[in-house]
């Protein structure tokens, strides 16, 4: 246990059917034997469920979306910091990662520690750069192309075999069986997440993911592969099992070593029936299913806080294969007054 209480600010409290990683990260921190934490929740919406989970979050603040301006967001963070003295910030919302990576030095000067990838690491694994990433690191990647107009979408469809995955630059992915559907989803995704939209060849197979933490020096602090067992209509895992697949672990160590990855990471792959692996996405943060890793013996959020504070953390060398997570929904009863005060005051 650390000598003093560590104040950790955590975002991604949107425990919806497209859940953010905030609450699982907080659960990991609360259970960490080596930490005594005070949790500050960072919410972008006044109905993010995690904001109302008093047993997990000590205080919550509303923050403007990064799209409303980085200055506005950073100003609010500084305001929260002046009240709460944040030691570590764990951002879990994709759209906030880039401005926070850019501001990592400034944040550190203010006393807020993060443990994020570098700008180069962040950009190298962007969905639009994935084919080149695959070539550079010797991993198979489905044919894909970033597009910025409906006509480009149609051209992309001619260049690869269908069906297609149509993906937003941060979130959302839809399976399209033909070019007409691709254009339909292009409009839907670009209206929500902006451009480019990524058209990717659909690969048939089993969805397997890895949650990992790199120390920024080429070492893997921890890694747990998972097979999705129950998938929602949004493509999110609602149930999964920790697996021992040696290829996935070897691939993770290879990537973290070759890129000197710093921070949390999620690898998303498709394993075909003839045992070929296609990398379909890399998320530069801890995923929402990270609590499976905690349950399987690797408390990656705990390790991340240690690394952010510059403390040593012995890398994990094992985890319990066969541990499963089964997600569920749960109705909280909240007084309207609490919700109203949160909306008006911006904190709770």
């Amino acid at each position: 246990m650390t000598e003093r209480k560590i104040t950790v600010a955590v975002s991604g409290l949107n425990n919806t059917d497209n859940p953010g990683p905030g609450i699982p990260v907080i659960r990991g921190l609360r259970e960490a034997a080596s930490l005594d934490v005070r949790i500050i929740g960072i919410a972008y919406e006044n109905l993010e469920p995690g904001a109302y989970m008093q047993e997990l979050v000590d205080k919550v603040y509303l923050v403007p979306y990064p799209s409303q301006g980085t200055d506005l967001m950073m100003g609010r963070l500084l305001d929260i910091h002046s009240r709460e003295k944040i030691d570590v910030l764990i951002p879990n919302f994709d759209a906030e990662l880039l401005p926070l990576i850019k501001s990592a030095d400034w944040l550190r000067n203010e006393g807020i520690h993060t443990f994020l990838p570098t700008m180069e690491q962040y950009e190298e694994r962007l969905k639009s750069n994935l084919p080149e990433y695959g070539r550079n690191y010797g991993i198979m990647v489905p044919a894909s192309r970033p597009v910025s107009s409906p006509s480009e979408s149609l051209n992309a469809c001619r260049e690869m075999e269908g069906p297609f995955m149509v993906k937003g630059k941060f979130y959302d992915a839809y399976l399209a069986h033909g070019p007409e559907q691709v254009v339909e989803y292009f409009y839907k995704i670009s209206a929500k997440w902006g451009l480019p939209v990524i058209i990717q060849q659909y690969i048939h197979g089993t969805e397997v993911n890895v949650v990992a933490l790199g120390d920024g020096k080429g070492n893997t602090v921890g890694a747990v592969p998972m097979k999705k067992q129950y998938i929602t209509d949004k493509g999110k895992a609602w149930g999964g099992i920790a697996i021992s697949d040696p290829y996935l672990l070897e691939l993770t160590r290879h990537l973290l070593s070759a890129t000197k990855w710093r921070g949390g990471m999620e690898l998303e792959l498709i394993k075909t029936h003839d045992r070929k692996y296609y990398l379909v996405e890399i998320n530069p943060r801890i995923p929402a299913w990270v609590y499976l890793a905690v349950g399987a013996g690797q408390n990656l959020p705990e390790a991340l806080v240690h690394l952010a504070l510059g403390l040593d953390f012995k890398p994990f060398d094992a985890f319990e294969v066969g541990k499963m997570f089964i997600r569920y929904s749960y109705d909280m009863i909240v007084d309207a007054e609490r919700h109203q005060n949160f909306t008006m005051k911006g904190d709770m």
Binding site: A242, I243, S244, D245, V321, G322
Partner: protein, 83 residues
């Protein structure tokens, strides 16, 4: 005919086979489970035939035919050792 099972396969007391590499679970009948247990013990094909012919009414031809089918089934589920 040798059947080399993938290392690490687990058979639960309730008779479920679990592949930790893929996370897949399989249920099978008592005979299939017994054969898998013998294979995990490392029995040679001759030893396997001796055991099974004592427990079931089997001749060599029937045994060989059954083992070819069983191996094909295990292979289709990717439960055999791969290079």
């Amino acid at each position: 005919m040798n059947i080399n099972l993938k290392p690490g396969l687990r058979i639960s007391e309730q008779g479920t086979l679990f592949d930790p590499e893929t996370g897949d679970s399989y249920t099978m009948n008592e005979t299939g489970l017994q054969i898998l247990r013998y294979l995990q013990e490392g029995l040679t094909p001759d030893q396997l035939y001796d055991r099974l012919s004592q427990e079931f009414n089997l001749n060599v031809e029937g045994f060989n035919r059954m083992m070819i089918d069983f191996k094909a089934l295990l292979n289709s589920f990717q439960l055999l050792k791969h290079d």
